[in-house]
């Protein structure tokens, strides 16, 4: 019962947060200088044309009125119409979302693989030069954000040793037989490994740039909790039973050390998704973030609004999921 209550409370605060985001973004973008209507009309347009179009987009009403109209639309799943492309915002945003989701999940997987490997190696070789090197590497990776790693990767693997693609999502000349925008997933399901390779080669650099800081966080935290676990009695017992050190780390210590890392990964994943905005720009990757920057530059108010809200939904959704999973896994919190 108490668990249910805390879940409901958590849902309420999430809704308040989303409402707050909606209000702030709505009012902030309404003070953007530059008339988007004037920008979309040809040079010879008359005053009457401007007025007609302004009325069409509802921009002639007062800002609170516009907000109510927009809100009642959102409740019905209508996020308005993009000013630059004249397509429904929801449709545009959903068409780009798969690209960003695939990139983020790919980055998360890379981060977990690298970070996990570093943590396990560091624990296995405690006190050695390798561990010291891993610590220094972690420090470096954490100090520098994804934007700079992206640029360094472009230089290293796009120019110096050109083995990966550094711009776009897929080679433009390739015919795409896809019915969804989850290119990477769909190419795999359709067993088109040639396409999958091309898409993965495009995605690898931006995903790695996003993954490096998170990998360092995972490596640092997991190594720390592994080391703490390694001193516990039951681990010593396993060791005296004659199990190898690697077996002890993987089978005995890891299951106990992994929970704090998992929660942190959940929270850090939202930061990673936030990072896709500039990384997509840097790698000309056709995702949500790249579209968002274009929307800001073109003063496409309904589109900006839709994208920011979608990001906020993703962020709060991930956080909610992490909290609930943690509460469900941790008996102490379940009764708190």
């Amino acid at each position: 019962m108490q668990f249910l209550q805390s879940v409901l409370l958590r849902l309420c605060t999430t809704l308040i947060t989303l409402a707050g985001v909606a209000v702030i973004v709505f009012f902030v973008i309404r003070v953007v200088p530059g008339n988007p209507i004037a920008m979309m009309l040809p040079p010879g347009a008359t005053e009457a044309d401007v007025a007609r179009l302004t009325a069409l987009y509802g921009l002639d009403k007062s800002i609170p009125q516009q907000f109510l109209i927009w809100l009642s639309g959102v409740v019905q799943g209508d996020f308005g119409t993009s000013i630059t492309t004249k397509q429904p915002v929801l449709q545009l945003v959903l068409s780009r979302l798969p690209a960003t989701l695939e990139l983020s999940v790919m980055a998360l997987i890379i981060a977990i693989i690298i970070g996990g490997f570093m943590a396990l190696t560091g624990t296995r070789l405690r006190g050695s030069k390798t561990e010291a090197a891993i610590d220094i590497g972690n420090g470096m990776a954490l100090s520098v954000p994804d934007f700079l790693w992206g640029l360094i990767l472009i230089l290293a693997f796009g120019v110096l040793i050109p083995i990966f693609h550094i711009s776009g999502r897929v080679t433009p000349s390739l015919p795409l037989p896809f019915s969804t925008n989850f290119y990477l997933t769909e190419s795999l399901l359709r067993l088109r490994f040639d396409l999958w390779l091309d898409i993965a080669a495009h995605m690898f650099m931006p995903a790695l740039a996003l993954a490096i800081p998170l990998a360092a966080i995972i490596s640092q935290l997991l190594k720390q909790s592994l080391k703490e676990t390694m001193h516990l009695d039951y681990v010593t017992l396993a060791r005296t039973k004659g199990y190898s050190e690697t077996h002890v780390i993987l089978r005995e210590a890891l299951p106990n050390a992994i929970l704090p890392t998992l929660t942190l990964v959940g929270v850090q994943f939202t930061f990673l998704i936030g990072g896709t905005v500039i990384i997509e720009r840097l790698f000309s990757y056709e995702g949500l973030g790249n579209m968002a920057i274009d929307a800001v530059i073109n003063r496409d108010l309904p589109l900006i609004q839709g994208i920011v809200i979608l990001f906020a939904v993703i962020f709060t959704g991930v956080n909610l999921l992490v909290d609930l999973t943690y509460a469900a896994l941790n008996p102490r919190l379940r009764h708190a």
């Binding site: 973004v25 902030v28 472009i154 800001v296």
Partner: protein, 283 residues
């Protein structure tokens, strides 16, 4: 117990020394930019476009690190770009620190409805994608130095508020605070005289880290061409130009990137190094 003096006598860690040295050199270079820059950072010369750095074939004497596609001297532009980067780091970092730390102290120590309000605001802020939010703010405010500073303050105050709130809550539960209250101090005076000195080390560490972050934000904004006017040299602007001409003139990207990398790394290492020194357990 060790006293403070033995901590000072202990050898300074290399990363503190190295990062402080780099930042000092950079600051001096930024201040003296008009004196030491070999060329005018804005002077274009289309006959001298995309000259390579001095050790490569085809370089021109006087252009140590080569030129960009408009024939502007890369070294001079980096030096002038440092002025903007460091100005943003100092002003935006400090203002963010003051506002964020105040919010955190108020929320963590006063608790009650102040805490509810500030925490709710932090939750809402955390739901914004930061890079997109800053780009949006610059679009609203118009590109200028003031806008960059405002955007950084508006977005990053939560970094301080979250951490300082938690620290103030821990400190607020300690006995010394209770005794200050018993002695008849007001809540606000206790906050300033008892809590603030105890969270000050954390504030200093966060401030150092925030300076590095501010420089990145400025670089990102000028990378998407939304920083200050497009003529003035900025590291991010140079990086954007370098990204565009990467296959013809890599040096236009590499040198500002190295400078930016070292500067951000230094601020971060300085912050981490200070954290270790302030930590009473490690001392």
């Amino acid at each position: 117990m060790l006293d403070g003096r033995s901590a000072i006598r202990r050898k300074l860690p290399a990363r503190l020394v190295l990062s402080a040295t780099w930042l000092t050199l950079l600051t001096l270079a930024a201040i003296c930019a008009p004196l030491i820059a070999p060329k005018d950072p804005l002077a274009q010369d289309l006959f001298l476009g995309q000259l390579p750095p001095f050790w490569l074939q085809g370089h021109e004497p006087g252009y140590l690190l080569g030129t960009d596609s408009l024939g502007r001297d890369v070294l001079s532009r980096i030096l002038y770009g440092a002025r903007l980067a460091l100005t943003v780091a100092l002003t935006a970092g400090t203002i963010t620190c003051i506002i964020g730390a105040t919010m955190g102290l108020l929320a963590g120590f006063l608790r009650g409805w102040v805490d509810i309000l500030i925490s709710r605001a932090i939750d809402i802020w955390m739901a914004f994608p930061p890079v997109l939010f800053s780009i949006l703010l610059i679009a609203v405010l118009g590109p200028s130095l003031t806008s960059i500073i405002i955007a950084i303050v508006v977005i990053d105050w939560t970094r301080f508020a979250r951490v300082i709130r938690a620290e103030a809550m821990t400190q607020g539960a300690m006995d010394y605070v209770a005794s200050a209250q018993v002695a008849g101090r007001t809540r606000l005076s206790t906050m300033v005289t008892e809590i603030l000195p105890n969270v000050l080390p954390t504030i200093v560490v966060l401030l150092t880290l925030e300076m590095g972050i501010s420089i990145i934000v400025e670089a990102i904004l000028s990378f998407v061409n939304l920083s200050i006017s497009t003529d003035d040299p900025t590291w991010g602007g140079m990086i954007a130009e370098g990204r565009a001409s990467i296959h013809q003139a890599w040096w236009v990207l590499v040198f500002p990137l190295i400078t930016l990398f070292l500067t951000v790394l230094s601020f971060s290492q300085l912050g981490e190094g200070l954290k270790d020194r302030f930590d009473p357990v490690l001392r």
